[in-house]
Amino acid sequence: MRTSDALAPARPFAGTFAFLWTEVLVQKNESLAMVTSMVVPGVLLVFVEILDPSLIGVALVGAILFSTFTMGQRVLNEAAYLRIDHKANDLYLAGPLTPEAYFLGMSFGILLVYLTPTVFLAVLATFVVPLSLAVGLELLALATLVWFSAASIGYIFSTFFRDNRAIWAYSSLFFNVFGVLAPVFYPIGLFPAALRPVVLLMPPSAAAALLQSAIGAATLSSGEVALASVGLVVETVALVVLAIWWARRTVRAD
């Protein structure tokens, strides 16, 4: 009547791939959304190209990081929408799919679908920025850390909302403020020195500063490099662990 594997106690992360695939199927029908994810970085790149073409390299690597960062906004919107409108949490989590698999499956599914614009930006960057293998690998590592931290923030935030209309406004505000106002698209050298430690502790601007330093577009002190890199790694690990803990915690409401 039923397979024994379906009744076995769920292993941690069990079902991640299956839910990832579900999310890919859900998202693939919204191909226009993929294009809209290019609007903000696209507009900013055009402005930079018009106003100061010498900064286009910085803006391009910033756009790559920004596009991975805003995937967190998509995780936030999607997680909240599925929970509030579809009651997907009730359907999926009152079962053997683990909460961490639900969170990671959804996040990786969104990553897979929205990776195309990021890859497009990366390809474009190779024509503009002198990207050695080492810098390319650094870019990949930093974008990965930014994505993990953004997806975690997105999932955690999604659990606090009860109304989708509020989410769309706040999520857009949050991710655009930290991804646009902070020095992600422009050199950190243009940012007030007194506030630099603050932006070096924010995942997208910390990653951008390290990349700008790697391509010679910014000069960071060793202390600033340490602050940005250690901060980014520690924050990302902490956020992922917190998101997994929070996902488990919020399966059951109080």
Binding site: A10, T22, L91, A94
Partner: protein
């Protein structure tokens, strides 16, 4: 799997949030659901049915009391209980950009079913729910009833040992409801246990082995549909459209239930003629019919199931 399919003892839930009044949703609910049974929680909106289901399905913490699913305490070890259960949530919707086939299949895969098993169960569940003709259309293009059938198909395909269905046939046409009932009967014959909430009295009566009538977080009455109907005190009901004002004249014949202006008198056939004589003398009109679950509900709760 040990123990009863479900056992709750003195289950209580109080919602407390800042700026909102304190709500006692459950006030000591104790019940048992035996393996292979179909049991209905019958109650008005806000009676506590969904709260009970949410706690039993590990999605809500109780304030006190306990619920066990196959001997596993859902509060202490929810992760051990979850493989045994599947839930059709109230107002749940399939993913709009998945087809019913994709919805059911991916759900089964996420629950750990092997590809071939998931595939065959998907086909079977869609056929049972009469969704063959719509299986490959995006859910966003389906009617409300078809979406609800997709949700039920998704969950029954699991053949989980214990299924929770919160208002499973809401929005469905009568034909589709019967298809759901038939599928649920088949599932319990295969060994699954079903706990559903409904405010459709016919559904509760036709589908359930036993019923619990719930009101204001308390179980007021329980038993088979026949037992509940017998508890009303007669087998016939005399409905007098504007008889509420004359209730005292009928009390000696049997149980009287007023509902607005109307009066329903529950009597045994032997006393029907006497009741009708009083009706005639009072120059009122009455209709006579067999006692249904509606009277049992009215007697237990004091209000109609559809009254807010």
């Amino acid at each position: 799997m040990n123990g009863e399919a479900l056992r709750s003892v003195d289950l209580r839930k109080t919602y407390e949030s800042r700026g909102a009044p304190r709500v006692e949703a459950l006030r000591g609910v104790s019940m048992e659901v035996h393996r292979g049974e179909r049991v209905a929680l019958l109650g008005r909106n806000g009676a506590g049915k969904t709260t009970f289901l949410k706690i039993a399905s590990t999605l809500l913490r109780p304030s006190s009391g306990s619920v066990e699913v196959f001997g596993v305490d859902v509060t202490r070890a929810p992760e051990k209980a979850r493989p045994y259960i599947a839930v059709v949530p109230q107002e749940g919707k399939p993913f709009f950009h998945l087809t019913p086939r994709e919805q059911v299949y991916t759900y089964l895969r996420a629950r750990g079913f092997a590809r071939e098993t998931a595939k065959s169960r998907t086909q079977d569940a869609l056929a049972r729910m009469g969704l063959d003709g719509f299986a490959d259309r995006l859910s966003i293009t389906l009617s409300g009833g078809q979406r609800q059938r997709t949700m039920v198909a998704t969950v029954i395909a699991t053949e989980a040992p214990l299924l929770f269905l919160d208002e499973p046939t809401i929005g469905m046409d009568p034909f589709a409801r019967r298809e759901v009932w038939s599928s649920l009967r088949d599932l319990t014959q295969k060994g699954s246990t079903i706990l559903l909430t409904t405010h459709y009295l016919d559904e509760a009566e036709v589908l359930s082995h036993r019923l619990y009538i719930v009101e204001s977080g308390v179980v007021l009455s329980s038993g088979t549909a026949e037992e509940l109907k017998r508890s009303v005190g007669g087998t016939l009901k005399v409905f007098i459209a504007e008889g509420a004002a004359q209730v005292e004249r009928f009390r000696s014949f049997g149980t009287c239930v007023t509902d607005g202006l109307s009066l329903t008198v529950i009597v045994n056939p032997a006393r029907l003629a006497e009741v009708m004589e009083v009706v005639e003398r009072s120059e009122m009109t009455a209709t006579v019919g067999p006692v249904t679950l509606e009277e049992a509900f009215l007697r237990a709760v004091g209000r109609s199931i559809n009254e807010d």
